[in-house]
Symmetry: C2
Subunit: 248 residues, 2 copies
């Protein structure tokens, strides 16, 4: 069983998420994407467009996890302060990258390359580009921090670009078991016992509520296929016993 | 202009959100709800079902904001450790609340009230109930921490129950202005100048990408209606001038 754990945090930057005006679509997408490539997302934070808040969160998260991904705040307007804040957190200077200016000039007339747009060409010293095939201006990676756009289609393209260059670990595999109508409270004790007996496996119980009743699913997760199968079998056996007892 | 700022943070508790298995639907809902009642959500964190992580986040957030809301982890299974973690963070004991046991007995046969289900009746000393009309077992509020379910329909009902008992501040009002096809880079400088000239107003620019092009919206927010109108008028005037110049 591989013990390689590669971890990540996600920092979502934007007043619009905190006000509820924009409903975030990136957290769930990035979570699932990273799980699928063997990176464990361990924490998410959402902070406003305020330099002090962004700097504090970047420093808390980049030191704790293998990677820190950020979304949002890399456009040309005054509220786009992610590049400045990340550079400040890392103690790095920003410079105007001529390669980005050249990319912009492929789409813009030279007279439209104003000061605001030039801000988007500023990246920290030592940063590499994260390509943006959608609207060209790239995100960047510097040290273990990966700075991406907030617009979902652009973020997704950037993630596709950077992912092959990341170190990945053993992939978390999972099995979802339908609780077949057994209420959580009826299997909770048995499930707790199974969780204790299978320490390499993470077991969760997830109720959904609809049509006036709960419909529960039990999810068994592990990085080791054999451990996963053993725990999943124990869960199914327990549910079968409870159902048989109910029928008796 | 009212200066009352009532703030909140949201702590989403659950491995399933971090793995991407479950896509969170609560952050956006709570953000919009709190904005509408005059509470400013300033931060969101998502942490796994691990006591140490929950305790650390609860303590960081409850001290910093007027209110801390949590979602998730209040069911009967072994991975439901929110009540224990919140009590630990606050240095309080949990006790089994007979009123909750009585509510549960309205829906359960006494022989089905097992140890796992009894766990859901444990709340910290001094906590008050947050009613759950959907599946009865309540959430709770203790000090400035409000503990709610993760299932969206139940969380929403709990928020409706607790909201009238919260202190609220001046409501943030906003106006959304369509950028009428003007690219962000063309209005960024002007918008930055307007933001500087209207310090009581928060101005954001939000690109959406679709059908191969950006469609931008400018959102002007303030707690003061006159300040809001003045800034919004300035934004509209700026956009009109840019469009006129383009047409010239």
């Amino acid at each position: 069983m591989s013990q390689t754990n590669i971890t990540a945090a996600l920092l979502v930057i934007g007043d619009e998420i905190l006000s509820g005006r924009t409903k975030d679509k990136n957290i769930g997408y990035i979570a699932e994407y990273l799980t699928n490539i063997g990176i464990d997302m361990k924490e998410v934070r959402v902070v406003p467009d305020e330099e002090e808040e962004i700097v504090a969160a970047v420093n808390a998260l980049r030191k704790r996890y293998t990677y820190l991904f950020t979304t949002g705040g890399i456009g040309p307007t005054h509220d786009d302060i992610t590049a400045d804040s990340v550079a400040k957190a890392l103690g790095l200077e920003l410079y105007e990258d001529q390669r980005i200016i050249d990319m912009m000039l492929q789409r813009l007339k030279p007279e439209d390359l104003n000061e605001a747009r030039r801000r988007m060409a500023r990246i920290p010293v030592g940063a590499e580009h994260v390509a943006n095939p959608v609207s060209k201006v790239p995100g960047f990676r510097v040290e273990n921090v990966i700075v991406m756009a907030g617009v979902p289609s652009i973020m997704q393209a950037m993630l596709d670009d950077v992912a092959p260059r990341l170190t990945t670990g053993a992939r978390m595999i999972s099995e979802t078991i339908d609780a077949m109508g057994v209420p959580e409270g009826s299997y909770a004790a048995g499930l707790g016992d199974i969780a204790k007996a299978h320490p390499g496996v993470i077991i969760g119980s997830y109720p959904q509520f609809g049509e006036g009743r709960f419909k529960n699913q039990i999810v068994v997760r592990s990085k080791d296929a054999e451990s996963l199968q053993a725990a999943a079998a124990a869960v199914r056996e327990m549910l079968t016993k409870i159902l048989a007892a109910q029928g008796a």
